[in-house]
């Protein structure tokens, strides 16, 4: 089985990075195929990396900092909106429940007239109450939807 690693491989790579060579390491390099390969690749990659580091400058730190702050704000805003989103979902669930209940009640009303459980309530008051309830549900849903939209647009803007 062929040897896949030399114990001095890292030492060779480190010497190439720092430029600190010992004569002993130099003679080892001539006798070890693995270290010779390591040296060839290290030289090649280090030259490439040095050229890249000299030729290219990263974007200013301030720019990256501001971008990160924006991302942070966006995440914070999303977290803050979670309860509102939950309330909205709850609101829709309640609206659906009320709608089903109303349908069921109206069905019972049409079948049995005033004889069933709605009979003690005068029809005018019942309709007024239903109208107000529906209006409030719709207004609440609209408000939640609008506030969600505003929050999203604020997050995009910031």
């Amino acid at each position: 089985m062929k040897q896949i690693r030399c114990e001095r491989e890292r030492e060779v790579a480190a010497s190439l990075r720092t430029g600190l060579w010992t004569p002993e390491l130099g003679s080892h390099l001539h006798s070890c195929t693995i270290c010779a390969e390591t040296a060839a690749i290290s030289k090649f990659l280090l030259a490439h990396a040095d050229a890249l580091k000299q030729a290219t400058g990263p974007a200013p730190a301030g720019l990256v900092w501001r971008r990160a702050q924006m991302q942070k704000q966006e995440i914070a805003l999303k977290r803050a909106l979670r309860p509102l989103l939950f309330m909205r979902a709850l609101g829709f669930a309640c609206a659906a429940f009320v709608a089903i209940w109303l349908l069921h009640s109206s069905w019972s009303f049409s079948d049995a007239g005033f004889a069933f459980h709605l009979s003690p309530i005068p029809i005018r008051e019942m309709l007024a109450g239903t109208g107000i309830t529906l209006f409030l549900i719709a207004a609440g849903a609209w408000f939640l939807r609008d506030s969600g939209k505003q929050a999203n647009s604020t997050a995009t803007f910031t």
Binding site: L52, Q54, G62, A68
Partner: protein, 190 residues
């Protein structure tokens, strides 16, 4: 020993009314100045494209600032940044985007035409993971454990994969030798 202050420490130290940022802009500036060039070179080396590397570099630091890991030593922070950068590269490669031909600005990075062609040919011929391994081992000087931590594989795998990558790269740097044949030969010999 430099220790960069991050989230958990800051959360304990910060009093109401004080600045709530986990790492201050000045601290970030120092960290960025110390590490960004190496990471940018790594990203260009891996993607072959300066613009893409710039975007990935910014995203790397943004993720670092957003996550705010516990206080780390400078060297550990550097490795953590390399890890984020490597994960971003992997996301890119998963989408099927690999090495791209350098545009004119990166073409001027090498001193002469021959070495530029060598760089392009060699890096393009290597697999993304091979490029990562060689770079982290020979340019950044990481040991097998550190590379394993950065790339997300075991130390034993690093050892074997690095050996294969080294043989392949060595063959590529010798124009007369066919890297595929050399690789097959080495795999057989294992």
């Amino acid at each position: 020993m430099t220790v960069y202050k991050t989230g958990i420490v800051a959360a304990r130290l910060t009093l109401p009314g004080e600045e709530d940022a986990a790492i201050t802009e000045q601290e970030f500036q120092a960290l960025y100045d110390a590490t960004s060039r190496s990471i940018l070179a790594y990203l260009i080396g891996m993607t072959g494209h300066r613009d893409i590397a710039e975007d990935l570099l910014q995203e790397t630091y943004c993720r670092f600032l957003v996550r705010q890991p516990a206080a780390m030593e400078a060297e550990e922070t550097r490795r953590y940044l390399f890890r984020i950068a490597t994960n971003l590269l992997r996301d890119r490669w998963r989408k099927g985007i690999d090495w791209q031909e350098p545009v004119s600005d990166t073409a001027t990075t090498s001193p002469d035409m021959n070495s530029r062609i060598d760089v392009q040919r060699t890096m393009q011929a290597l697999k993304p993971r091979e490029r990562e391994l060689l770079w982290l081992a020979y340019v950044e000087g990481m040991n097998h454990t550190e590379i394993a931590e950065t790339i997300g594989i075991t130390s034993m795998s690093v050892r074997l994969l690095l050996f294969r990558a080294r043989r392949k790269a060595a063959a590529l740097l010798r124009p007369t030798c066919d890297p595929e044949r050399s690789e097959e030969h080495e795999t057989d010999s294992l």
